[in-house]
């Protein structure tokens, strides 16, 4: 592996932090602390700082809960690791996550994101409020609000991609752009 090439790539894309591996609760705590202190050092505006932080929380916890998915157990090795990157270009932040998901979950997830992307900012807010009050809650508390919240806070579409890997899995990437 060419480390200098790897370094260059991270440098060109202004990557502040990247990680590949198992997503644990302890890891999330560490990543959040690192990013928080980095933004502090960069003297980022409190408003942008908060936005980046909470979007990070949602994205990382999505990955974390996804790791719990019992349908992944059989293919533990490949399916339980994820990649995460956060970078800053000019005045905006890019947060990218990547993980394997079962092919049969792709259409539903795609549909959900397309629906969110088709809404105006006002409609996204309404959608959030309705989903908040729909009485459904997963045993962890989720309840399908994460993606809507990200769209609501960033005011941007969810940029996503699915790459088919084999009969069982696709690789799902999500790129969230956060501006002041």
């Amino acid at each position: 592996m060419d480390i200098h090439d790897f370094y260059d790539k991270m440098d060109r894309n202004n990557i502040l932090l990247s990680f590949k591996g198992d997503i644990t609760a302890e890891l999330l705590t560490s990543i959040l602390q690192i990013i928080e202190s980095k933004m502090d050092n960069m003297q980022e505006e409190p408003k942008l700082r908060k936005k980046v932080y909470i979007v990070l929380v949602e994205l990382l916890q999505n990955l974390y809960h996804h790791m719990d998915d019992p349908s992944l157990e059989a293919n533990a090795e490949m399916a339980r690791t994820a990649i995460f990157m956060i970078g800053k270009e000019n005045s905006h932040y890019n947060v990218i996550t990547g993980n394997y998901i079962k092919n049969d979950r792709v259409p539903m997830l795609k549909k959900k994101m397309d629906e969110i992307n088709a809404l105006s900012p006002e409609e996204v807010k309404e959608h959030y409020k309705r989903t908040l009050n729909n009485g459904q809650m997963s045993d962890k508390g989720g309840g399908g609000l994460g993606m809507i919240d990200i769209a609501r806070r960033t005011g941007k579409p969810l940029f996503y991609d699915f790459v088919p890997i084999n009969d069982n899995f696709s690789f799902f990437t999500l790129n969230v752009v956060i501006e002041q």
Partner: protein, 127 residues
């Protein structure tokens, strides 16, 4: 009489509930992975409190951040308070947000639109 005191942590807010005084305070960050488990003691305590509440019940909510997993639990807490209010008891909700934090102000307005309670929106200055 019931008293709940939970210290804050990097991912969870401090919670103080005193049923005798009718005071509840939730303060800090609420971003736990498992929010249901975290809020369970409070929700259960409020359920018991609803059978013989103090009047008024004063609730101070001052959150810096909360994740979507917490947002449903916070609604759960507010719905318990709504029940107390519906039974004819006064419930005062003070919703604090830092200046410029429109998202947190809006979050309070969203809750207010869902539950039948009046929120006093309180802006606080940044440290």
């Amino acid at each position: 009489m019931e008293v709940i005191t939970i210290e804050s942590s990097p991912k969870t807010p401090s919670i103080k509930f005193d049923s005798k005084q009718g005071k509840l305070e939730i303060k800090g960050r609420s971003i736990p992975e498992n929010s249901v488990e975290f809020y369970k003691p409070l929700v259960e305590s409020l359920e018991r409190y609803a059978s013989a509440p103090t009047t008024p019940t004063q609730v101070d909510i001052q959150l810096e951040y909360f994740n979507t997993a917490s947002s449903k639990c916070i609604l759960d807490v507010l719905k318990r308070l709504e029940t107390i209010h519906r039974q004819g008891n006064q419930v005062i909700i003070n919703w604090y947000y830092e200046e410029d934090d429109e998202d947190m102000r809006e979050a309070g307005e969203d809750y207010q639109a869902i539950v039948n309670l009046t929120f006093n929106m309180q802006q606080v200055e940044l440290d």
